[in-house]
Amino acid sequence: MVKQLNKHKVPYLFIAPAVILLTLFSIIPIIIALVISFTDMDLVGLADYSNISGIGFSNYIDIFKDPIFLKSMYNTLIYVVIGVPMVVIASIAVALLLNYGTGWLFKSFRVIYYMPSITNIVAVAVVWGYLYNGSYGLFNYVLSWFGLPAQQWLQDPVLAKFSLILLAFWKSIGLNMIIFLAALQGIPRSYYEAAEIDGATGWKKLRYITVPLLGFATFFVTITTLIGWIQFFEEPLVMTKGGPLNATMSMALFIYNNGFQLSKFGYAASGSFVLFIIIIIATLIQFAVKKKEVEY
């Protein structure tokens, strides 16, 4: 063992910083959270560890009986099912359009599409809060042009979910678009030229060259977007605080509310473990599906 370690000293040294950071800030906290999820830790326990006692699986049993948690799981599912495909398809579409040219117009639109991803969420919340405002908002003003009734964008339990999806969709296109754009530019011109000689039209080139060669980028974007949307948090926090009637409560917000607002750390930790397992499962399914596909 020591001999082995000595032999590979240099590579170990190179990965050491990454391993140390990962252990310190990811793996150890995950293990601590796992332990906490089996206890009744609250603020009193935090101040004095002797007040903490193990309570087995009761946090996990309680959380699956908690109507708000079940609702948050359902809401998160809606967010993911609608949000992820929308983001992936729209990012590809935007990247394809921007890839048509290199003029100043295309360059400035890259910046415009990227802007939302680097804008502070609080500033976004203020602006979108006004857009969605029931009495003074721009959206309702636009509706009034067409004689449509004013909508309660953030107060109607059904509509509020979609309002948040729209906001998050707008915010997450930029980053993914950049990834697709980079991948598009990595596709050699010669493939297209060869296809043109064989008489392929624009649509066929897209279907048989571009989309397959974007496979890896699509896979990456889908996984990161999926994980991001399962952890949907900032938008409901700043826009609706999970209301109305918990219609926009996401799992991550539920965990935050229980952990940091109500100081029920044990309960919140069990919630985050449920979330953790869901993310792992979703990612594994993605990898399994990916394996079936052809590699280029």
Binding site: K9, V10, L13, L43, V44, L46, A47, D48, G129, Y132, N133, G134, S135, Y136, G137, Q152, L154, Q155, K241, G243, P244, L245, N246, N257, F260, Q261, L262, S263, K264
Partner: protein, 413 residues
């Protein structure tokens, strides 16, 4: 080659340990220096720094290190301080957080210091404010500033419907609201019912003679007085007297006359003055309308000593200074927060009729229940209120459920 790697490792380790040592040093100096007093304030630093400077001038050799924490992140930050047992010496506590942090043992019992410093004595402050500083048999804070809710109303619009002084009773409030909406037409409301503000229904329940959680830790949510209160508030939604959504901008609507009344705290005086100068002289503040009483809530902030402080004696001296009239008036000047010290109210700085209305309301005010489970019960109560007013649930059924939940949270069998 081998030797070289060894040297590299050694160099790397040394640089790490240097970094670590650097961290350690700075920590030690902060903790060991008894001349620096760490104070955590919620809000902005420029309101408190002038007072800290006054204290430094009066006590040479002491440095007051003021750290301003925004209110919305303060709770998280306090949790972290409790977890690491490393925090400030003096901490400003929102009154509703006191029970929770006192239960965790994070706040020092100030009883011995109150005997030492006359400015900390309970009788100097509003009774409701003193109640917020008590946890079980301890006094864990000294009232710093107070706030309460009163009625803002448009004098011109209310005169037109026959209430130039504002409504004085629940019946008058209802009558005035109906007339205002009738007169204003579509898009007009009387006042907002803030279901997202947990204290709002509580104030009305108190006025109706209901308690929230009684002295024996029994919740009162399904009792007739509370049920009647919720039905009264619900009727404002049902009759279209209050907007259902919460995003109608209160000040803008107040300015346009789309909402002639609202219930809020003293901070709104300046906001309305700044954002709606057009209606200057056309609005006023008065005490809340009464049913059995016209009780309002009292909130604000207390000053406490963090239990892990290394300088509790210095911290107490600072708090005693903050409780004196000079500091209280200075803080009113810098932040518009109303002094908790009763004697400060005779000063002409607080003679403005709007402020005076809040002063009058303070005499009839009480704090939110001081059980440590209250935060979670308040959340549940808000959710139930929303279910009834927006979700259309039956009032009695929903409140029975809420009462069961509250009993469970309070650990009642």
């Amino acid at each position: 080659m081998k030797k070289k790697t060894g040297v590299k490792i050694a160099a790397l380790l040394m640089s790490f340990s240097l970094v670590a040592a650097g961290c350690g040093n700075s920590n030690n100096s902060a903790a060991g220096d008894s001349k620096t007093l760490k104070v955590w304030f919620m809000g902005t630093a420029d309101t408190v720094e002038p007072i800290a400077e006054m204290y430094e001038a009066a006590n040479p050799g002491i440095t007051v290190d003021v750290q301003a924490i925004p209110w919305d992140t303060a709770h998280d930050k306090l949790l972290t301080a409790v977890a690491s047992k490393n925090g400030p010496d003096v901490v400003q506590m929102g009154t509703t957080w006191v029970p929770e942090f006192a239960a965790a043992g994070a706040l020092k019992d100030l009883t011995p210091y109150i005997e030492q410093y006359p400015s900390m004595k309970a009788e100097n402050f509003f009774e409701g404010a003193v109640e917020t500083t008590k946890y079980e048999d301890q006094t864990v804070g000294i009232p710093f500033y107070v706030e309460t809710r009163a009625m803002f109303y448009r004098t011109d619009l209310l005169s037109e419907v026959g209430y130039p002084e504002g409504p004085k009773t629940w019946d008058e409030l209802k009558d005035a609201s109906r007339k205002l909406v009738e007169k204003g037409g579509a898009g007009h409301y009387a006042l907002p019912i803030e279901g997202k503000d947990s204290i709002y229904p509580v104030i009305f329940a108190w006025q109706n003679g209901s308690d929230i959680i009684d002295a024996n830790r029994q919740p009162q949510f399904n009792q007739p007085a509370y049920v009647e209160t919720v039905d009264f508030l619900k009727s404002f939604y049902d009759e279209g007297l209050s907007p259902k959504g919460t995003d109608l901008d209160t000040v803008a609507a107040f300015k346009d006359g789309k909402m002639a009344m609202f219930i809020s705290g003293p901070w709104m005086i300046q906001t309305v003055k700044d954002k709606a100068p057009e209606i200057d002289g056309k609005w006023a503040v008065t005490t809340l309308p009464a049913k059995v009483t016209n009780t309002s809530s009292i909130g604000g902030a207390d000053l406490s000593i963090f239990n892990y402080s290394k300088n509790p004696d210095e911290a107490a001296k600072f708090i005693a200074f903050m409780a004196e009239q000079e500091a209280q008036l200075k803080y009113y000047e810098t932040s518009n927060s109303m002094p908790a010290l009763k004697a400060a109210w005779s000063n002409e700085a607080l003679s403005d009729p709007m402020i005076a209305a809040f002063g009058k309301q303070l005499e009839n005010s009480r704090p939110a229940p001081t059980v440590k489970e209250y935060e979670e019960i308040a959340q549940a109560a808000m959710a139930a209120f929303e279910q009834i007013t927006i979700g259309g649930a039956d009032t009695q059924t929903e409140l029975d459920k809420l009462n069961d939940k509250a009993n469970e949270l309070l650990g009642n069998k």
